[in-house]
Structure formats: C-alpha cells, structure tokens
C-alpha cells in the first residue's frame, strides 16, 4: 500500500461527496483500506492503518479532525477482545463495527442540528465565523422549522471561506450579511448569540478552530453574549494544550506550509480557543455522551 494511493482515495472521497466532513472522509478511507488491502495479521493491519493516517495528514486538509476521528475509529474497532479463531473473522468483525461507527457518525450532524433548534429563536441575530458544515446544517434545520433569523458571517481570511458560507446561506433564503473579521467587536452588541463550529475539542475543554475565533469569543464574553459550539463528538481529541504555543504544529498549519518551512512568521491556520478559562457561556453539543470525561 502506498501513501499516494491512500491520499488519492481520501481526496477522491472529499471531491465526490460535497458535504462530507474531513473526519468522516478519513474514516471512510480507513474502512476502504481495511477492505481493499488484505493483510494476514492484526499487526500488519494496524501498521497499514497508521500509514494511511499519516498519509492523510499530509494532504493539506485540517489535521485535527483527521487525527481525532481516526484515533476514535481505531479504538472503536479494536475495543473488545477479539477472541476469534481466524484473522478473516476478526477482519470481518472490525469491518462491521467500522460500518456501524460510520453510520452513527453520518447521523451525527443531523442530530446536532436538531438539538440546536431551540437555541435559535425567532428574530434573533446570529454571528458565525468562517464556514462550518454543522452550523450550516443547524441553520437549514431552523429554516425548515420556519424560523426567521439574521446571520452575520465573517470573511475569515486567508481563505475567505466565510464567503462560501454566505453564499450557501443566501441560497437557502436566510438573511445573511458578510462582515470583516475586524468588525466583530463592532457588530457584537447587535447580535444575540454566537454560533461556531469546531475542528477539534481538547481535553481541557477548549476548542480548536479557524483563526480569529479567539478574538470573537473574547469580545462575546465581554458583552455577555452566549457562545454555542456545534460539533460532532468524534472531534474530541486527547491533547491538552496549555496555551497557543502548546498545540501540535500540524494542527495549526497546513501540511504544505509546514513542509515548505515557512511557518515561522506566518499566522496559523487554526488557533486555540479556550472557553473553560475565560468564558463561561459555552454550551457544548455532542451527539454522544461525553464518555471521555
């Protein structure tokens, strides 16, 4: 099994399924790896999967979700004692479990969106940052429930993903406004709630998200606006960063940037946001129970 092959599968999945999140795509890739690349022992399978994960990390996609999702997947499929005779049976069991896991994950976004419905009240103004599929799903769900609300989206440079979010919102019929990243402090007194997604959730209770989230959350806390983070629970990671510098580099920068070595002065792609220390108005939605805590 070659690295490039895994990457190809991975990117293919991402290309073909528009709406799939990176973590889900990664898990799908791993499943495909198990299915397609036959091995003889568990150890070999393990190695294969690790190689695959490593390959996916170098794909210029947000690594946080990949790493946490894959880790969970691995834990899940190797959870119980596999006290079976042959390796094929073992493999079959793993595959089965993997598929269950995947199924559950695919439902996750819908569940989160439904759960967040009561928090979007009629006539409220929501501020969101960059593009998050979960937040989008939640808003679409609210539209389906005939709620009228207004959304402010930040441009979120450098990749202007907020623009894409804005387009999608307008297409769904939601009143959306695009604002500068720096205009967050100005607009904060007009909004009622802040809703953001997350790349990853750390052990300390903080979230890792697109750069600019920290400032947004700080100003929301100062003006006493509630901040809601919508996330599926496979994004729970085991890292415990103490400050911004303590986050692993690959979480912060795209792999290409790291490879080129030019990240010394650049600002990271994703930053850390620690609600537990600063902000108390964080409500976390998880699809699953937080059995990690």
């Amino acid at each position: 099994m070659k690295k490039e092959e895994v990457q190809e599968i991975f990117l293919k999945i991402l290309r073909e399924e528009e709406d799939v999140s990176v973590g889900v795509a990664a898990i799908k890739t791993l499943l495909t790896v198990i299915e397609n690349y036959k091995v003889a022992t568990v150890r070999e399978l393990d190695l294969n999967l690790q190689l695959a994960v490593d390959a996916m990390r170098h794909c210029d996609q947000p690594v946080t979700a990949i790493s946490s999702g894959c880790e969970l997947f691995m834990r899940f499929i190797t959870f119980a004692k596999l006290d079976v005779k042959s390796f094929e049976e073992c493999e079959q069991i793993m595959l089965q479990r993997g598929r269950i896991f995947l199924d559950t994950l695919l439902e996750a976004r819908g569940k989160v969106a439904k759960q967040s419905l009561p928090f979007i009240s009629d006539g409220c103004k929501i501020l969101t940052h960059s593009r998050s599929r979960v937040v989008l799903a939640a808003m679409l769900e609210a539209v389906k429930a005939n709620k009228r609300f207004q959304v402010f989206v930040t441009y979120s440079s450098p990749d202007n993903s907020g623009k894409r979010m804005h387009k999608e919102l307008v297409a769904a019929g939601i009143e959306a406004t695009l604002i500068l990243d720096s205009a967050v402090g100005y607009i904060m007194e007009q909004v009622d709630i802040v809703m953001i997604g997350a790349e990853g959730i750390t052990e300390s209770g903080g979230i890792i998200n697109k750069i600019g989230t920290y400032c947004l959350a700080m100003s929301a806390s100062e003006l006493k606006r509630p901040v809601y983070v919508l996330t599926e629970s496979f994004k729970f990671s085991r890292i415990y960063p103490l400050n911004q510098q303590d986050i692993p580099i690959e979480f912060k920068y795209l792999s290409s940037v790291i490879a080129s070595g030019g990240f010394g002065e650049a600002t990271p792609f994703s930053g850390l946001y620690t609600p537990c220390i600063h902000y108390s108005t964080l409500y976390r939605f998880g699809h699953f129970d937080t059995f990690r805590r």
Binding site: F119, S280, F291
Partner: protein, 351 residues
C-alpha cells in the same frame, strides 16, 4: 427507543381521569410545595402502571410517556412533574435492560454500548415478563428518596453554616428554613430579603425568629447595599437546569449579581428531584407573569394608563452559582450534567 418513535397510545379512561384530577389540584393550589408535587406525580404514575393492561416494557414506557406529555402540556412550568416522569421512565428502562442482561451503567447510545450491544441494539423485549413488581420497587425507592431528600440536605447544614456568619437568603423557601434550623449549635445571623411575595417572607422571618435564629428582614431593594457584609448567600430554587443554571424567584438574578460583584459565595439547595435536563435557551422560556397587582395595586389611579409586569421566575446563569447542595452532597455547577446522566435517560429529555 427514541422518543420520536413508537405510537402515542391513548390512555384508558381511568388514567386520564387521574391525570386531570392531578393537574387541577396543582392549578387550584390544593397541591403546593415542590416535594408534595413530586410525590403526587410519582403516586399518579404508579397508579397508571398498576392499572396498565399490558405489562410489557414497551407498553409501560409508552403509557408513562403519554402521561408525561399530557402533564407537560397542561403544566408547562411544572418542571418537577416532568422530572418525575423521566425518573419513572428511567426506572422502567433499567428494569428492561437488567432483564435483557445488559449493563445499565451507561445509558444512551454511548460508543461502548454500541460496541457491546452491537448485534442487538434495538432491544426486543421479552414480553412475558411482568415488569410491574420490580418497577414498583423502584418507585418505592424513589418515594423514599423524595421523603429523605430534605433531611439529606439539612444534614449537611453544619458543614456550611457557622456561628455568627451572616447568611443572606432571598424570598421564602421551606428548604432554606429547615436548613438553617438544622444548623443546630452553630447560630448564624440571617438576613432575610423580601421576595416578591412579601407575606411569605414575613411568615418565614417570624417562624425562624421564634425558633431562636436572629433574623433581620429587609426590603428587596437593599440587597446591593448590604451585600458587602454578607458571608454567604443560601437560596432555594424552583428548579435546576442543565449546565448548572437555576430558575428561581423573581429578583434572584439581582441578588446573585450583587453576590458575584462582592465575591460572596452563592450556595443553592437543590434536591435531586428539582434537577431538570432542559436548557433554558431563551431565558424567558420557563417564565410566566404573575398577576400585576403584586407590583402595583389595582386601586391606584395610574394603573389604568400603564403596563405593569410582574414576572414569576428569574433565570440565573451557572457562573453565578458557587455550589449546589443536593441529596448526594455538594457539587459544582459544571458537574450537574453528570448527575443528570445518572438520573435520566437521554432519550427522555424530550418527553
């Protein structure tokens, strides 16, 4: 079984009658006091279970859930009744799982459960088992817990109240009264702030002072002025919400804001039956307006030309509360979610 599945069956006549009587008792005020309401709900549910024609778990769950829906529709602000319905549902589910030999430690679709129960996730319930007996045992346990909750909380009084401490409490609460009386030899000084129901506060003040507790009664407007001298704020609440937020009497937010400003710890006495798994998304969600004459009497001339509001509840966010005292001991607001997961099944959060 998710709550959105399964048919909502119609309850039989007798059950509906019982429910109607229960609701009207609460509405007319015959049934007052949170503990009494909780006990009455549980007794009602026990009755319904006993009268159920089919004794399978599925049937019972549906019956109880139907009752719950009726009650919440009729009394949307009685969170305690809804909590008791959830408790009974949880009891039924526990029994069902125990019968099906599954571990009931982790409720809900946790990953571990998924793994362990992989083949048969949707439990096919053995319908020939009569679950009523064990459920009745559970209910008896529950009733016992309800009765003991007050004494369990008051037993912790001595740890938290010390001699010559100035304790502030707001409005009138039977639980706080008993808590203070239970402090025994530690004689605190009490500052009782009038709530919107000033006659209740006055009654509580006279009762406590005749018991030997030194009480100073002040008007609700003086809370901010007196807060610098207060050592602790001890309050009773209507209900504790998910996340550690609290629903209390109107004016409670002003008290806790002042306490926070002067860094005075706020202790909330909350027996487990008051723990509700709901979020108050919109802070006025669980609020209701009381009749406005409590704010301004009808006889005054201005009342014809003004709008008078008198809300009943106040929402207090979790960062204002320092400590929750429950039957099981003290806990911080961030731990409430754990207690909730032990008490209720996540499927039942929305009845």
């Amino acid at each position: 079984m998710s709550p959105l599945e399964g048919n909502l069956q119609d309850l039989d006549e007798k059950s509906i009658e019982n429910i109607v009587k229960f609701v009207s008792d609460i509405r007319t005020g015959k049934l007052q006091g949170s503990n009494k309401i909780a006990v009455a709900t549980v007794t009602l549910l026990e009755q319904i279970i006993t009268d159920a024609s089919n004794t399978s778990a599925l049937f019972l769950v549906n019956a109880v859930r139907a009752t719950g829906r009726r009650i919440t529709k009729a009394l949307p602000h009685e969170l305690i009744a809804a909590n008791m319905v959830r408790r009974v549902l949880r009891a039924i589910r526990d029994e069902q799982r125990a019968l099906a030999n599954q571990s009931s430690e982790y409720s809900g679709d946790s990953l571990q459960r998924l793994v362990l129960a992989a083949p048969s996730r949707r439990a096919t319930l053995p319908s020939h088992h009569d679950l009523r007996e064990p459920i009745r045992d559970h209910i008896a346990e529950l009733l016992g817990e309800l009765e003991a909750s007050t004494s369990a909380i008051c037993g912790q009084a001595k740890e938290h109240i010390h001699t010559d401490e100035l304790i502030l409490t707001y409005g009138s609460s039977n639980l706080v009264e008993k808590f203070l009386k239970a402090s025994g030899t530690n004689k605190p000084k009490l500052l009782l702030v009038e709530g919107p129901q000033h006659s209740e506060s006055a009654a509580m003040a006279t009762r406590l002072s005749s018991q030997g507790v030194s009480v100073t009664l002040v008007n609700g407007a003086a809370v901010g002025a007196l807060m610098p001298r207060v050592n602790k704020v001890v309050i009773g609440v209507r209900s504790t919400l998910a996340g550690g937020a609290v629903l209390g009497e109107a004016g409670l937010l002003a008290v806790t804001t002042a306490a926070r400003h002067y860094s005075v710890p706020v202790v909330v006495l909350s027996p487990l039956y008051k723990l509700s798994p709901l979020h108050s998304c919109d802070h006025t969600h669980f609020n209701a307006l009381a009749p406005p004459y409590t704010a301004m009497p009808y006889m005054s001339g201005e009342s014809a030309l003004t709008q008078v509001y008198a809300p009943m509840c106040d929402f207090v966010p979790p960062d204002h509360v320092t400590l929750f005292i429950t039957n099981l001991g003290g806990s911080s607001p961030s731990y409430i979610y754990r207690l909730l997961s032990e008490l209720y099944d996540p499927n039942d959060y929305q009845i």
